[in-house]
């Protein structure tokens, strides 16, 4: 179990540090690479929570799919001049304080609710087949949301195609 804790702290520190770097970096490509490390760190956290299927979906779909899209767009608009420009907008102080206030509020919420969280269930020795369980739930109880999600993706695809069509 101590290994579990070590891995958790490693992944969370990695995630937070690369998230901060992502937000502060001037070069967009470096930002994208740091975001990829954050996503991989969160994928590691999912593994710790015995959610392997989600780990795989996160790696294939998120890092392997969406981030490739991001890198493609960054390369297509390789705006060298954006490096020279000022990266933060003028209301950065107000925004920063606002965000921290929001964070403090959630912090307070977790602090008060902490006691009512009951301890994590015993980790069963034989791990339940996670992928089968997710599959049963996905095609069983969550059939309707599954269909809605597929329609959402279809709409997004058509939208993206129309958007990127040349105006010729």
């Amino acid at each position: 179990m101590v290994l579990n804790a070590i891995l958790f702290y490693f992944f969370s520190v990695l995630a937070v540090v690369s998230a901060i770097l992502m937000v502060t970096r001037r070069n967009v490509v470096h930002g994208a690479v740091y975001l990829i490390t954050t996503l991989l760190a969160t994928a590691g956290v999912f593994l710790l929570l015995q959610a392997e299927f989600l780990f795989i979906v996160q790696v294939i779909l998120y890092v392997g799919g969406i981030m490739v899209l991001f890198i493609f767009v960054i390369m297509l608009v390789n705006l060298d001049v954006s490096l020279l420009q000022y990266q933060f907008n003028r209301q950065r102080f107000v925004a920063g304080v606002l965000a921290l206030a929001l964070g403090a509020q959630i912090f307070l919420a977790i602090k008060t609710g902490q006691k009512s969280l009951f301890p994590p269930s015993r980790v069963p020795e034989v791990l339940p087949k996670n992928t089968e369980a997710v599959a049963d739930a996905l095609f069983g109880r969550f059939m309707l949301p599954f269909e809605i999600a597929s329609i959402l993706l279809l709409v997004a695809m058509i939208g993206a195609v129309v958007m990127a069509k040349r105006r010729a």
Partner: protein, 100 residues
């Protein structure tokens, strides 16, 4: 033992960083990436609670969050490309005209 609230602190940290990114950065792509970060923080919460309750619903919902993030990224990047092709700029505060 790693209890559930430590996962909550992690997702809180990522969430606040994401919000800071969205509010303070000018480059639209960085804003979009920060939104992805926020969605990820939400995912960690979902999976942590699903692990706590021993059921799998949280993970299934996390999958739906990821599909939504994919759809949103696709359309968002499409808009950025279309916008960039017309105005040659990527800065959020320069997008101040409803119709150009």
């Amino acid at each position: 033992m790693v209890s559930v609230d430590q996962y909550l602190w992690l997702s809180l940290a990522l969430f606040t960083i994401g919000v800071i990114g969205v509010l303070t950065r000018r480059n639209v792509i960085i804003i979009l990436m920060s939104i992805e970060l926020i969605l990820n923080a939400v995912n960690i919460n979902l999976v942590a609670f699903s692990h706590m309750f021993g059921t799998v619903d949280g993970q299934v919902f996390a999958i739906f969050v990821i599909t939504d993030a994919a759809a949103e990224a696709a359309v968002g990047l499409g808009i950025i490309l279309a916008f960039f092709r017309n105005r040659e700029t990527l800065l959020a505060d320069e997008m101040d005209m409803l119709k150009w």
